[in-house]
Subunit: 133 residues, 3 copies
């Protein structure tokens, strides 16, 4: 298991971690199987979406903020209930196939850490299960 560190810079931010994951796969020598990226925080998550046009990430953030507003009437008194709820909607892990020592992603796909209650210093855990042919 490996740990990746992330420093988010705003309250809601999608941080592209694709290059870090590719480096981890290379350094560990993982060849063929399934990678799991897991977020141990309850006000953040992990998602896969378009990495080419940053307006896609912007639309995801704005739509989540519209559906689950920060200042709504929540019970949890820490002011970040929206962040917890977004975490359960987006999910806290992704599984990505590994072939010939590299992540198998689509042309436009990137893997993003989704910060919903930043800015903060965060981490992700990365594990690997070898696959069958």
């Amino acid at each position: 298991m490996e740990t990746i560190g992330i420093s988010s810079r705003s309250r809601q931010e999608l941080v592209d971690i694709t290059a870090k994951l590719r480096s981890t796969v290379g350094e560990k020598g993982w060849k063929q199987g399934v990678l799991t990226v897991f977020c141990p925080h309850t006000t953040a998550g992990v998602t896969i979406n378009e990495a080419a046009d940053p307006s896609v990430v912007q639309d995801i953030k704005e739509t989540l903020a519209r559906l689950v507003p920060e200042g709504a009437n929540y019970r949890h008194m820490e002011g970040n209930s929206d962040a917890h709820i977004k975490s359960s909607l987006v999910g806290c892990s992704e599984q990505i196939l590994v072939q010939r020592g590299d992540l198998v992603l689509g042309t436009w796909q990137g893997v993003f850490f989704t910060e919903f209650d930043g800015p903060r210093s965060r981490k992700l855990y990365v594990g690997f299960s070898p696959g069958s042919d």
Copy 2:
């Protein structure tokens, strides 16, 4: 593969299954790899979120009920379309890393069975894939 039984007590309920999962990992002697918790029901799911303050779970339930109301104008005639839709939004499985014979979770994280059409007698399947160093 192991089976965990759950008895939900209300229509929408998040049941903390972290202790049951930890017991399963210990009993099976699973040391290092990836655990999969899978819900075989189409009106329920699995999520990971804060287990310390129960108001977080309450906010998740209330927000899902606002976004996908029980009594809206649906086509499916069994009165539980909202539960099916919530299941696809939250997802029906989680993957959790296992190290040194224990689940790797963040300080505040718990694993929850998410009942959306209870009360019912339910079950979850738990599987394990050994990991690489």
Copy 3:
């Protein structure tokens, strides 16, 4: 790793891929472990829900269209921001346990490719990690 081809026929469509996955498991001789179905497209995804009554799938599509409307005021200029956002809400992969050479699914469950920006020719990647008893 195997590739499954899909031809979607409308803009938003849930295509039942359960039979194709079962065939893949049989042809590959995968006996016990965890299957990963991964969508390499950023305007589509994968979900598990009821396959018996097609009105459930219709309710999922209509509710997603209500929560994330196609024609809202988005930044991404390709007219498919709603499809990207739905992809992150539903998720781009599913993990399914395999036992005795078959998928372990609930009575009413089917696995669906979720097209949000069709009609298009699409593909899914399928990988397998052997499991422990």
